[in-house]
Symmetry: C2
Subunit: 235 residues, 2 copies
DNA sequence: CCCAAAGTGGTACCTAGGTACCTGTTTATC
DNA sequence: GATAAACAGGTACCTAGGTACCACTTTGGG
């Protein structure tokens, strides 16, 4: 892509905002963007590890879920929801053994893509990137450790309350990132099934913690939600 | 520690074997070991993130479990079992937010320790370490992703069978790393409770997949175990 | 060597959460 | 705008797995 492209400033801004590239200089980003191609994914399009192993992606807008599934039972577990500034797949970038993971667009997704080899070359040209990658991986590892143990250490109701709290914007008190998602997707995020989520949403409405209108969850009572998430809520 | 120490050759050998240090030169390892102190942990001694945040550890011998727990219920989930050549805590090394994790010795544990700051300095002197750390983190992340989704995607029996298969030595057909562990600890590894493990061990004995003698599990029939792990076993 | 106390494993009972079935709601087609 | 098809959510029923209780086995102190 050349710098006279219509969306060039918007793309540069998206790259600048990425925590993955946070220590990179402007000219390095220019050089990177010049090698990239823009692509649109319609909602619900998905790829697996094979498909994305040879291309590295930056998200410009939209949401993408990263999940594993059991084809025999149809159960899914969503590990991350990625959005603006996030990248995938970091593991392929590191040349680890292929890991069968799926990526699926939750909305219309705008990505910038670059061949994996070129991305590796670019990183080697800017050694400061190694530190950035390490801290990115460290953060993700910590998140993964929590996700890994959450399912066994806490009940589904507690996990649902914690999920809502994690995604509330401090100022607007509105849900971010996970708003507008059907019960299906919420279930995947806490490692359970849709019907259990539905049941718990009824319960949370009943105790006045939330209200639901047109597929949007509104938090009504933070204190109750906190009490549930911290397992202080005696039903 | 000076190079005239009795166990010096054994320690050097342990460091050489570590995948974390695999690309390091002999003199770099000497320099590292010179700054280290040996320490023994008796079985069942444990530390949390606070305790180990300021010291970096290398395991020389023995096994160490890394786990999270819910103090309200007493449930525990073991994330990793570390042994000879493994290191902890990598996340503290990266200066990420403290993560409340516990470490507990499963046997008598021999570690080499070094102040965290000195470890950071040493790494910065040997830039090849950055790549080693990245690939170490990548591998662990992949493992964590599997652990995170296993609990929701597979039943406890399937997870137990898979755990046994993962720890069988290809040649001797004996269990490694997890042998000799009480049902308690096995339960922590697959994210369930001791009683469920006990019940499943009865079941596996009944179908002839394993036998148990003096707290040691012996795999009798790999095919049956594989069928269960791959969910092809119709009970 | 005896006894207490801690450690380990087995199992009956019960409940959290999963399956299956249903109703209502939105989107696409002619 | 009518109708089908896909999508979304609610809930009765049932089972996998957790709790609680027991019995046996090992360890350590006098």
């Amino acid at each position: 892509m050349t710098s006279d492209h219509n969306d060039y400033p918007r793309y540069i801004q998206a790259l600048q905002q990425s925590s993955f590239l946070k220590d990179s200089k402007a000219e390095a980003l220019d050089q990177l963007l010049s090698q990239m191609t823009a692509e649109q994914w319609r909602a619900k399009t998905f790829r697996n590890s094979m498909d994305v192993a040879t291309t590295f992606h930056f998200i410009v807008s939209g949401r993408l879920k990263v999940y594993k599934s059991n084809p025999d039972t149809g159960r899914e577990h969503t590990v991350f929801v990625l959005s603006k500034g996030d990248v995938f797949d970091v593991l392929s970038l590191l040349d680890t053994e292929p890991n069968d993971v799926y990526w699926e667009a939750l909305d219309t997704l705008e990505v910038l893509k670059i061949p994996m080899d070129q991305m590796r070359l670019w990183i080697n040209e800017y050694p400061v990137m190694h530190k950035a990658i390490i801290s990115y991986l460290g953060e993700r590892m910590q998140q993964l450790m929590n996700i890994a143990t959450d399912v066994t250490l806490h009940s589904t109701l507690v996990r649902l309350a914690a999920l809502l709290l994690k995604n509330i914007n401090g100022e607007t008190r509105k849900l971010e990132l996970i708003n507008n998602l059907p019960n299906d997707e919420i279930a995947g995020l806490i490692g359970t099934t849709r019907s259990v989520v539905s049941r718990h949403i009824q319960e949370l409405k009943r105790v006045g913690a939330i209200s639901v209108s047109r597929r949007k969850i509104n938090v009504k009572n933070l204190e109750v939600l906190l009490a549930i998430a911290e397992e202080k809520h005696l039903p």
